[in-house]
């Protein structure tokens, strides 16, 4: 009996939902396509797929389902095309061309690797393909070139390491010595450069005792940890992510490095269950670490529920930051399309959508996103940081002592290069 009641209730709910969708659906604008194909590119294989790619892909999946349930974009159903970002640049560019020229997608969302963003941006302009970068960090994309068809709806990497410097000084104002251990590749180098330059500006007397560059995915940091244990810096800064962050955390905890020095990680690049308590950590923009205003945002809550329902979640509701970034990209596209439709009174051209997205402001699961810099093509976001702590009530690690630095405090103003801005002492920063 009980089962029939459940089925009946389900049917009723489905009928109600379809009625709701039917009423919510307006007439599509003139010249609209039958469906809107959007490519979603993320690492589905390789070392970056676990911490970044798969969560981002899953987030895009649940968010596109949500958009379609609510009537699609401008009344048009969105059809996602998921592809793998793995492989060298020539493969990534070939795949982008296939998506644009063969699949004829209306827009491409994604790219986690900075190298891939740099490689794809000029091709997007050449093919006039609307492209919204999902997660990649390098500031070079819009600081070294102008790209009419390319946007990035998440903040670039400057907030990771400048935010780390500001949070460190807020938590431990009397820091005297710092050391760095970063993966020897572009993102590791960028992270350290921004962090140490920021520290030099914010606390001029601070001394760098060591800078270590183990190779990426080295897997063993015993020599580096030995060195750090001898040098006893107040703070060890790292931009490790994925398996590197997990193994480094294990080894650092076992040998007492986290008790001896403050370990500061600029970006949550793996599950916090694997990172020891007392570590200071950030997330590129709100999301995993949510300040109160974002926590209250209905989109934030809805995203967590949708993700939990389809893909399950840890008890502390932890979702990787790449996942939030992909929903930001989709929200940006949706809002831009709809405002361009309103303005044009018909289905907009790619250029009209791009114009609507530039300098726009929109709500997302990570709070309000402002497309404020890089000629309106680059988002700025606040930089939330936290201390990891074990919560006995839920038996999992949680973020405590959350502090979020406002977007205008950790992002350069429009038209200024990040490193120049830092070296000139952050002119125009509002903290």
């Amino acid at each position: 009996m009980n089962r029939y009641r459940k089925v009946l209730a389900g049917l009723l709910a489905a009928a109600g939902l379809s009625l709701f969708v039917a009423t919510a659906k307006a007439d599509p604008p003139a010249g609209a396509p039958a469906s809107l194909k959007i490519a979603v590119v993320a690492f589905l294989s390789g070392p970056a797929s676990g911490p970044f790619g798969i969560p981002a892909r899953n987030a895009a999946d649940v968010w596109i389902e949500k958009i379609n349930r609510e009537g699609g974009i401008g009344g048009i159903k969105v059809i996602p095309v998921f592809t793998d970002e793995a492989g060298p640049a020539d493969k990534v560019v070939t795949e982008f061309r296939r998506l644009a020229l063969e699949e004829k997608v209306a827009a491409v969302v994604g790219y986690i690797s900075s190298a891939n963003c740099l490689a794809v941006a000029p091709v997007a302009d050449e093919l006039k393909e609307l492209t919204v970068f999902g997660d990649c960090g390098t500031a070079r994309v819009f600081e070294e070139g102008k790209h009419a068809y390319v946007f990035r709806t998440n903040a670039h990497t400057v907030i990771d390491s400048l935010g780390a410097a500001r949070y460190l000084l807020a938590m431990k104002p009397d820091v005297k010595t710092i050391a760095g251990i970063n993966q020897d590749y572009a993102w590791g180098r960028d992270s350290w450069e921004i962090f140490q330059r920021s520290m030099r500006q914010l606390k001029p007397g601070v001394q760098v005792v060591d800078v270590l560059w183990p190779k990426i995915f080295a897997g063993d940091y015993s020599t580096e940890i030995s060195k750090l244990l001898v040098e006893k810096p107040d703070v060890v800064f790292t931009s490790f992510w994925g398996s590197d962050l997990v193994t480094f955390s294990r080894q650092a905890k076992a040998r007492g490095l986290v008790e001896q020095s403050i370990v500061l990680v600029n970006n949550t690049g793996s599950d916090i269950k694997d990172i020891p308590a007392t570590v200071l950590i950030g997330s590129r923009g709100p999301g995993p670490i949510a300040p109160p205003d974002v926590e209250k945002d209905p989109l934030h809550q809805e995203f967590i529920q949708l993700y939990k329902a389809k893909y399950g979640l840890a008890p502390n509701n932890y979702i990787a930051h790449g996942a939030y970034h992909f929903t930001q990209a989709l929200q940006g596209l949706k809002v831009a399309y709809e405002s361009a439709i309103k303005k044009a009174g018909r289905w907009p051209t790619t250029e009209e959508v791009a114009a609507a997205l530039a300098y726009s402001t929109f709500d997302s699961p990570a709070g309000i996103i402002q497309m404020a810099i890089g000629n309106g093509h680059q988002a700025i976001e606040p930089a939330p940081f936290a201390v990891i702590k074990q919560d006995p009530a839920i038996g999992a690690h949680v973020f405590t002592e959350i502090r979020s630095f406002p977007a205008a405090c950790v992002n350069p103003p429009d038209g200024m290069k990040s490193l120049d801005w830092i070296d000139r002492g952050f002119p125009g920063a509002k903290c």
Binding site: S45, P88, V93, T94, L101, L127, A186, R189
Partner: protein, 315 residues
């Protein structure tokens, strides 16, 4: 087949290739450009395989060509496509002439691994000299100009395709002539019996050195052509998996003819891209399965099908 009519299929094929930009979609054209360029590097691998020299480090010269041109853009402000190609060719030749002095003394697994080691050294250098090479983020290749020809910028893709086609054809023809020359046949003889070659009064080292430099120059040109087409280069170009890909394609195509690398390369690019479209999660497995099938059923590579067809139809 009558001797006077033998050139007709080639003529038709040539015409079809030249007019391809007017017919094919932009994506297929791009794929053909990249495949054609990479085929040059594969040709180098095939050339060495003729002397039974397997290299797992040929990406070294491929990356050397690409980065020589990329640094030429960054530091010398070069934008002329021909100048960049020249630079890459010289880099490929130069580096292989230098390293060849050491490498050609070794055979078998030592040759393969020594090449691998040098290519990983270059990979390390490209990674470490972050401020010069951009590290893993790589270097951008802005759209080149071909000042001498003076075509419009809008047709850049077609230009790059035609450039790859003509330059590639020229280099393939020259390699073909080299294969047919006494020096080329010496490589075959070395494969069969190196000692006997030496007894014949031919310098084995000189022959291998010549082959090694030619292979290096070809890979250098391949590197810059791929860089120009893709528009961005990263240290992955020098990574061992890239060298592995060249060997993979060489086996896929076969070593029987200069045309085999082209067929193999085009087949590889298409299989890889369609594997991607069909199964975004397991595309690597599709590729691996394709290679296994080739090894089991066509040990001479795809090109051996042509040989089969020839023997069936009879002389």
């Amino acid at each position: 087949m009558g001797g006077s009519l033998r050139f007709i299929p080639f003529l038709l094929l040539g015409l079809a290739l030249i007019t391809a930009p007017f017919v094919l979609s932009g994506w297929v054209l791009f794929l053909l450009t990249v495949a054609g360029a990479k085929a040059l590097a594969v040709l180098g691998v095939v050339l060495l395989l003729r002397a039974k020299l397997l290299t797992f480090g040929h990406a070294l010269y491929y990356a050397a060509g690409a980065y020589a041109a990329g640094l030429g853009v960054k530091y010398l402000g070069l934008h002329n496509g021909f100048a960049l190609i020249g630079l890459a060719f010289v880099a490929g030749l130069g580096v292989s002439a230098l390293l060849g002095l050491l490498v050609i003394r070794y055979r078998g697994v030592y040759f393969a691994l020594l090449n691998l080691a040098f290519s990983m050294v270059l990979y390390g250098i490209l990674l470490k000299f972050y401020s010069v090479t951009g590290g893993t983020d790589g270097l951008a290749f802005p759209a080149p100009t071909f000042g001498l020809i003076g075509l419009s910028e809008a047709s850049l893709r077609a230009q790059l395709y035609e450039l790859t086609l003509f330059l590639g054809s020229l280099l393939f023809y020259l390699t073909y002539r080299f294969f047919a020359s006494p020096a080329g046949y010496v490589l075959f003889a070395i494969r069969d019996n190196e000692v006997r070659v030496a007894y014949m009064g031919i310098s084995v080292n000189a022959a291998v050195y010549l082959g090694y430099i030619i292979a290096g120059g070809l890979a250098g040109v391949a590197g810059v052509l791929v860089g120009l087409s893709v528009g961005h280069i990263t240290p992955d170009l020098a990574f061992w998996s890239q060298s592995g890909e060249f060997v993979f394609v060489a086996i896929l195509g076969g070593v029987g003819s200069v045309f085999a690398p082209v067929v193999g390369s085009i087949l590889f690019e298409f299989v890889r891209n369609y594997a991607f479209e069909l199964s975004p999660y397991t595309w690597q497995m599709t590729l691996g399965a394709a290679l296994l099938l080739i090894i089991f059923f066509l040990p001479g590579g795809v090109w051996s099908l042509v040989g089969l067809a020839r023997t069936r139809s009879g002389p």
